[in-house]
Structure formats: structure tokens, C-alpha cells
Subunit: 392 residues, 2 copies
């Protein structure tokens, strides 16, 4: 007789948890969600959800009682709570000893450097450090908060001692240390995404090129155009090696700089489905969301192969407000977008429009890269409200 | 400023409503479900659900209050209730005047015949009819209940007057008339699936071949192998014409007999996502579930094109009980099925195993039809418990 399906707890009610719900339906895998509030993105589509605080161990314990495993929509659960849950006997995936490398950039840099993985030149700035230490490291450079940054928040490009005032003030206020990093003169940004299970099986997606603006992912092209095949394989091997040595379970995204000399440096790590993997929903045999679920449940992984020559992902971001009102179209953008391009794939997150907020993305696939770029960019611009009659 | 998304009401909590939930997540389209009971297939995955009776107009009105439209997981809502909802001003999609052709086989046969659409020879048996009338029609033939049948229920092949006892008894008990139909000597069964919107836009999926056992769909091959291209186009045109003349909104499935002389006859109509369209989830640009949502919301339709040379769908059915216990594997069938075939696509419905019950399906796509058939059949047999160590 068949066993009932185990329940997977998911902490965080953002769009990543929302998009996990789609393959969970297909797999018959019940999800139980900890949401920041009623009505957030994932709570709209996961019936078994409760509102709670991911920083509260009691809320985490109440959520995960009876669950087979817990995974995450974000990387903000305190490491100590993750250790407590693991000590309770819960399968925490990724585990705290892995996840800390995605939570703390100083820990990540130290570990990767010890592993011999190429990183930008960097310096951890202690409590007593100041602009003089940054000057000694060398301007221009990047200052990053070691914990809690995301989507460009907590990252500053500094070209002078005066530029350092804001990051140092932020560090004093938060009590979180700063890391100084070389400003890499890169050709472009790449991303190597892998899934890895507790059993050690791993699968590497094709390496993609991503375009950022103000630290927010704008576009992804899969696979990265004109990427040297040896470099692509090397990037996948680096990602697989990091996943293995850090004992990552679930999706690991390794954001890379491709330098003009053809070498790669690791920029950031993320241990969850990642914006640079949204193309897999329509462009790969198995999406990153399904492989994340399979990996954290220790099921065999699905093929990460691309189904199409090219897949382009473009994010839909809220435009700046106009007359104090949000700008852009969501549901009411469908008639034009769908009629113009019957092959377009739209993914909305159930979020209200706010300036700069990721509210959805589009995927366009096909044999002609320029055509895919045009289709996806047009659709995203349309939803953003950059095209057509704004008064409509 | 963007309008909030309208809400779509769905009547019936089966797997078809469950599978509508996946594209509804992507489209940011809120669904509100009327479920037969807590815990049924779709209620597991649609937060905004309530338990009620689809034969109760008050339940239907409570469900649909404030909704932009209502659509259906099944065809069992009384026609009078659908007219009442439409009279209230609700968009009922498909509308009662269309849906009656999927609810009442006598109405369907009369209408299609009047349209000149080829149907099997048939005879509506009135209240006073008996086995002699069937004998005059000619044995062997098929008796069908005009309303309420599904998955082989309410269909009898009769070869003698004695065979007529059971269907006539059932007709007397239910008060539903019988239809006698020619037992068609067909080469195979085909299905022509189209989506149609209230605006009149329509999209035709590739014509597929289906294999039935005891009236239940077992396998679908998309596209139908070795189908004459003119016949395929003709079948699509018949389906589009029926959708247009009957003013169908949403998915229309036209089940067809392909006769040995190369002509086609219409067997059945369904006005909802259909088992012969499950292959589209992984094998078409836009799945039947997404196009059903787009159609009933009067949004432009997505491309119905196949993405692959071949896609094979095989249903997972509960096997006969052994020692009074259900047989088969669901979640615990994953390790073997996924490890054997990393490209396999599995869709489970969150249902308990029962003999003959559809509890899921698998899709396998690729360039080699024999390979796809082997992969999908092996996986379905494995989940069904027909392979390997049954005691596990």
C-alpha cells in the first residue's frame, strides 16, 4: 500500500515559495508555509499556511511539527534557529552549516578562498576599521554588508573616503560588519545553477548570462551567448564543487563575473531557487523549482537540460510612481501582451506594483536569440507601463 | 494604475480543477473553488475553496458572488441552475446553451446531425421503448444513458435482448432516457481539442490518438501517428466548427472514431479540459489548462503548437485490490520512476488509490515514439504496482 506523501515546510511567503507550489501540485507534495502576513505572494496559492515570524524559533517549531523537511524562500532565518531545528531531528535543507555561506559574505569568502575557488580580492573590515582602511585596500572598490543584503541593498560602490560614510553608518547601526571587495572589471555576469540532494546526486543547469541594474536582475539569456565551452564546463564544475564541499541541499546559484581575460570569479552564492533560474520554468526539462523540491525531499533529480536553443527571461519591475500613483500593468496588461505573442510565457507574483519591486517575469524561447530578446523585452516593458497609453 | 485581477469561480474539486491551479498561479488569477468535500483533489491546492453541492443553486450563488466568471471541473451542474446564474448577470463559461450538448447525448446527436457533422447512426429511445426497439435498430449496438455517464459508466454494448435488461432497468431507475448507437468498427479513436473564447478566437491543438479500456482513457499519443494530414485538418475544422456553432467557451474536446475507410465520426463532446489533452502540460507551448483559463476569462489564447516531435501520456490507474488492500505506489513510487527516467514528467492528483480510479498520469516526450511509449508505460505500470516487489 502506498504511503501518504510527506509534508514539506517552506519558510517565507515570497514569489519563490509561490513558484514552488506549481511543481508541488504535480508531485502531489503538500507544502506548509510560514508567511510574513496574510495575502503575501505564496500565501495566496498555498492553502496550508500560517502567519508567523521567521526570526521566532517557536513559530518555526510550530510550522515544522510533523513535517519531513523544511526549506526556504529566503536566507534570513537565524543560523542558531536552524541549528535548533536540526537538533530537534528535523531535516533542514539546506542545513545551517551550508546556508551560512549564503547568509554571511565574510564566511563565504573565507571558505571559497580556502577551497581555492577564485574570488574578487577582498578584506573583512573589523569593528575599528574606517575609511582609511578602505583607502589602503584601494579605491574604487565595493563595500558590502556581510549579512542581510539583497537585490542591491547593502552594496555600495565607493570611490573616495566620503563615499564610505553611508556604508559605515549603516554598519554601525546594524552591527553587521562590512566587506571590501575589488571592483571587478567584468565582461559580463554569468550564473551557474546546480541542484544537489542529501544523497549527493547533483545536476548542473546550462550556464546563463545575466544583466543587472542597480543590483537587481533584469534579464537572463540561457545559455550564455558565445560562452567558451570549456569555460562553461569549468563554471559548472566550480558550482558542483561548491555544492559538494559545502554540503548544499536544494538549488545553489553561483553568480559569477566573467573577466575580460576569460577567467571567472565568484560573486555571490544563493541557496534557493534564484532569479537567474526562472528561465527553467519554460526552457528546461525540469524547472529549478521542481528540482529544488526533489532535492530537499531527497528524490532523484530531473534533467536540467535546455529544451530550446534560446530562452530569455526579463523581469517585470514596478516603474517609478507618477503623480503619487504606481505605474504599470499586471492583469490588465494581458490582452496586448498575449495577443502580440501567443508563445509568450508570463509569470506574475500576485504582488502590488511598487517602484523597483519585482512583480513578475516573462520567458520567451525559440531558435532566434534576437527575436526572443525583442519579445521578452517588449512584454516586460509593456507590463511595466513603459509603452502605450499610460492613462489606460 | 493596474486593476486588481478578477476572480474565477470553478465548480468541482477534481483533478481538472487542481491542474487549472498551476497556470492560475502563473497568471496571477485567483480561483475560488466549490469542492464536494474538504480534502478533495483541487481543495488541497486552492486556498479559496468552500464545500458545497453543485446541484444547489444557493451554493452556486454563494460561490460566484463577486466573481468575474464561473467555469467547471465537470459537466454535472443542472442546466436550469446555469441559466439562473446567467440571468443573474454572471459570465457562465461555457454557457448553458453550449454545455447542454456535453450534458445530454440526445441533444448533442440531434444538433450535430442537423449541422451535418458525421455521427454514428443513432436512435433516441422514448419512455415506452424496449428491447424490441433495440432489436429493430440492430444488434450489436451501444446503449448510452443520455445524461450523467462518464468514464464508461452509463454505456453498455448489447448483443441481444437479454443484454438490454440492465440498461433499461438503469434508465427506469434514473428516469434518464437511453440512446441506441451503432457499434462503430473503428481503426482507432482520435481526439480534436480546441480552445475558444467569448470573443470568438479559437485555437486547435494537434489531433491525438487515444486508447481506451472499459471506457477509461489509458494512453494518448500526440500527434496521432500516421494520420493523414488532410484528415487531421478536417478533424480540427470539425472541432472548430462545433465550438463556433455551439458558442463553446473554454476547452472543447471532440472525441472521434477514425473508421477503417478513413472517415471520422464524432463520438463524444466534453467542454472542459480533457484527459486527451493532458499531454499539453509538457508537450505544447500552452497547456489546455492555461488556455481554458484564458478562454473563459476572454484573454487572447496561447499557442497550441506541440513543442516536441512526440508526447505520450499514460494514465496511472489504481489496480484491483489485493487482500482487501489498495495496490499501487504514489509518492513512494518516485525514487525508481525518477531515477530511471530523468526526463519523465509526473502529475499526481492527491487522491487515494482505489481500483480503476485515475490517480495521476505521466508524460514522456522526445523524438522516438517507441522510446516515449516505453518510458511512459513503464512509469505508469510501476506506479500502478504492476512491476517489482509488491510487498515494498
Amino acid at each position: 500500500m502506498s504511503e501518504p506523501a510527506p509534508v514539506l515546510a517552506v519558510v517565507g511567503g515570497g514569489q519563490l515559495a509561490r513558484m514552488m507550489a506549481q511543481p508541488a501540485i504535480a508531485l502531489g507534495l503538500p507544502l506548509r508555509l510560514l508567511a510574513e502576513a496574510e495575502g503575501v505572494s505564496a500565501a495566496q496559492v498555498i492553502p496550508d499556511h500560517r502567519v508567523g515570524d521567521h526570526r521566532d524559533l517557536d513559530d518555526l517549531r510550530a510550522l515544522t511539527a510533523g513535517c519531513a523537511a523544511v526549506t526556504f524562500d529566503h536566507e534570513h532565518v537565524p543560523t542558531a534557529h536552524l541549528h535548533a531545528l536540526a537538533a530537534d531531528g528535523l531535516a533542514v535543507r539546506p542545513g545551517p552549516d551550508a546556508l551560512v555561506h549564503a547568509q554571511d559574505k565574510a564566511v563565504m569568502r573565507a571558505r571559497l578562498t580556502a577551497m581555492g575557488v577564485p574570488c574578487p580580492r577582498h578584506l573583512l573590515l573589523g569593528e575599528d576599521a574606517g575609511p582609511d582602511d578602505v583607502a589602503a585596500f584601494g579605491f574604487p572598490c565595493v563595500l558590502k554588508t556581510t549579512r542581510g543584503g539583497y537585490d542591491g541593498k547593502g552594496v555600495w560602490v565607493v570611490r573616495s573616503a566620503a563615499d564610505c560614510d553611508e556604508p559605515f553608518a549603516a554598519a554601525r547601526e546594524s552591527g553587521v560588519a562590512l566587506l571590501a571587495e575589488e571592483l571587478v572589471d567584468f565582461r559580463r555576469e554569468l550564473s551557474a545553477l546546480v541542484a544537489r540532494s542529501p544523497s549527493g546526486q547533483a545536476a548542473a543547469y546550462p550556464v546563463v548570462a545575466s544583466t543587472q541594474q542597480d543590483g537587481i536582475c533584469l534579464e537572463v539569456v540561457a545559455p550564455a551567448p558565445d560562452l567558451d565551452p570549456d569555460l562553461a564546463t569549468h563554471a559548472q564544475q566550480v558550482a558542483l564543487r561548491i555544492a559538494g564541499e559545502l554540503d548544499v541541499t536544494g538549488i545553489l546559484a553561483v553568480e559569477l563575473f566573467e573577466r575580460r581575460d576569460g577567467r571567472i570569479l565568484v560573486n555571490e552564492l544563493a541557496m534557493r531557487p534564484h532569479n537567474t533560474g526562472h528561465w527553467t520554468q519554460d526552457g528546461a526539462v525540469t524547472s529549478q523549482f521542481e528540482n529544488h523540491l526533489r532535492a530537499v525531499m531527497d528524490l532523484p533529480l530531473g534533467s536540467p537540460q535546455a529544451r530550446e536553443r534560446w530562452t530569455v527571461m526579463v523581469n517585470i519591475l514596478g516603474a517609478p510612481e507618477r503623480d503619487g500613483e504606481p505605474v504599470g500593468r499586471l492583469y490588465d496588461g494581458f490582452p496586448h501582451a498575449m495577443a502580440r505573442d501567443p508563445r509568450l510565457r508570463v509569470h506574475l507574483y500576485g504582488k502590488d506594483l511598487r517602484p523597483g519591486r519585482k512583480v513578475g517575469h516573462v520567458n520567451a524561447y525559440g531558435d532566434d536569440l534576437e527575436d526572443c530578446l525583442e519579445r521578452a523585452r517588449h512584454a516586460a516593458a509593456w507590463f511595466r507601463g513603459d509603452l502605450g497609453n499610460e492613462s489606460e
